[in-house]
Symmetry: C2
Subunit: 356 residues, 2 copies
């Protein structure tokens, strides 16, 4: 199962809007086939592993990180393939919360006389696809907020300079985070000041979609975001009263998403719904202060990463600044906290307890 999880993590980022799954076929104590979810529309992990195992799948055990599907989606059901291959036993890390599956896959396998065990390394398996499990039930995109700040909580100095606050290893991990999200988002101020590429430079993988939040629909044509809009999906999210709609600019290739909402809380909430409907199931928000603070203040952040570089500025742009400060007894805390160490930078991640 550990091997299957490794395969799932490696596939993460290429399978949106599908979950990333790993599968391993074991016969007589030997691995005879491995697989991971391929890009959307391609075969699922189980099918890849079974194909590799070939005839040796008969009588073997299949380890899989998620309940095998039993419905016709973009591909035929995996349960059929498992039964056909004469697998004797299926060990699954977790059930699939997708209402189309949700235990039905296991039922179908058991009905075919296959032994089924559920729960091995469940917690780890749930983390790989925490975004997927969220979106499938909430019908909203999963939001990860990542902030790189100084030891005194600043994301830039007084002149707005922010490159670089954290060390190289932490920035590489930031690219790994981009790789495992369907989209990367920044506010317009950050776009114009830093002109970030929002690509996955330091690690191999697909480039996530790029999102910019703005109040008007104008985007500087000089930005990397505008110039390379055809390389990856580029989305401009526009707030303001009007009709909720999506327009596509054929010249630049950019999509313009109008949420029809002026009030920040409603605007961002609507965005998460539009994102889900348009196959952007997870978004890594990278700042700046305004975007980060709004998403967190309004309870829309599903996972927070804070990286602290080994720097003190004494003044500058605060990482977080809510429209209303919280009283100490009403503060946001992080659940399931984990600390991370990257050379001279340390980090913390967890789930904000105000998430809706």
């Amino acid at each position: 199962m550990a091997k299957a999880l490794e395969l799932a993590w490696a596939a993460k980022g290429k399978t949106f809007p599908n979950p990333a799954v790993g599968a391993v076929v074991v016969f007589n104590g030997k691995i005879v086939g491995t697989g991971a979810t391929e890009v959307c529309g391609g075969p699922h992990a189980e099918k890849v592993a079974l194909e590799k195992a070939g005839k040796r799948a008969a009588g073997a055990t299949l380890y899989v990180t998620l309940e095998p599907c039993c419905h016709y989606g973009r591909t035929p059901p995996c349960t059929d393939a498992i039964i056909t291959a004469k697998i004797k036993r299926v060990v699954a890390a977790s059930a699939d919360p997708n209402p189309l599956v949700n235990g039905k896959g296991f039922t179908k396998l058991r009905a075919a006389g296959i032994a089924v065990e559920i729960g091995l390394l469940q917690e780890e398996a749930m983390t790989v696809n925490e975004d997927f499990f969220h979106t499938i039930t909430k019908k909203r995109a999963w939001i990860t907020l990542k902030l790189a700040c100084t030891l005194d909580g600043r994301i830039a100095d007084e002149a707005g300079v922010s490159q670089w606050i954290t060390g190289k290893e932490a920035r590489e991990y930031g690219h790994e985070l981009r790789r495992t999200h369907a989209a990367v988002a920044v506010g317009r101020t950050t776009l114009e000041r830093d002109d970030p590429q929002l690509t996955v430079r330091h690690v191999k993988g697909f480039s996530p979609a790029r999102i910019v939040f703005t109040t008007g629909a104008k985007i500087s044509k000089k930005t990397f975001f505008y110039r390379y809009a055809k390389e990856a999906r580029g989305i401009v999210v526009v707030s303001g009263k009007g009709r909720k709609k999506i327009m596509r600019d054929s010249r630049s290739g950019l999509e313009y998403w109008y949420t029809g909402e002026q009030e920040p809380r409603k605007h961002l909430r609507t965005f998460t719904e539009m994102a889900f409907e348009n196959d952007i199931t997870s978004v890594l928000v990278e700042g700046g202060q305004k975007m980060a603070s709004s998403f967190l203040e309004f309870g829309l952040v599903n996972r927070l990463y804070l990286f602290y570089g080994n720097k003190i500025l004494g003044k500058g742009i605060e990482a977080l600044r809510f429209s209303r400060g919280l009283a100490l007894n009403k503060r946001i805390s992080l659940k399931n906290r984990k600390t991370l160490l990257f050379g001279d930078t340390f980090g913390i991640t967890g789930i904000p307890d105000n998430v809706k």
Copy 2:
């Protein structure tokens, strides 16, 4: 030597202005005597250990965390006691930078035919007395700055509430820090808002002296600081033009230190000198924002502790706010960084690279 270091740490806080030293006498592979520095004026570690060893010291090895003294101070030289006890070999973790000793102790021992080895666990031994090594050469008090802040760098919410930002374990460690410093200091705003006791409640040990920084000489008589000024040394440090002087209020028992300086940088610098001259060799500064920021901005912090509680406020009082913000390429970094974990609070400590 590990045992000797343990003894030194336990003695730390009771030996000011002397360094905390541990000593262990080993004969035939067995510990026959242990000792640590006693309160100022009492015997040194070596002498305690030698007395416990008695006749078994003859031909034995003495492990000691600091070079034995060779001069008459408040007590007679330890080198004489070592020679008289017929110790065969001395293993010292480090030399004593005190100009009165500084290798002369080793020379005297060697002249008496005793084998001397230096450097075992030197780094650890240097850390125990880093304040002492600093003061003996710089003639200024060692300043440790400790700040307890939220994940977003605030030390209090907008209403000024700061109890408690960090968890219980971290606060206990805060008391351990108080125990190992000669004095604990806060600014006047913190005194009046939080009325801190500045005592060592959670760990056994001596109560450090208490210091309050203020621009005027008036201190509220309702504060714990004022009411219990006779239990521990209570010092009011007053800035402003005039003559540098120390006055004692016999009624309250408080000392008033006038630095004669109005300019914050000079005021605090003069304070560190006055503290050293008055046997306050190390000061733990606990805030608030203004005191903490001034000490750090002016390069007077010898060691910084930052504790991050698992809380986000979004607004509030920033932990640090310099009079002039630093540009990112002129930022302060911490040297010799270490991370600490206390339940839901994590911490970082290191030496600011702007220290003078």
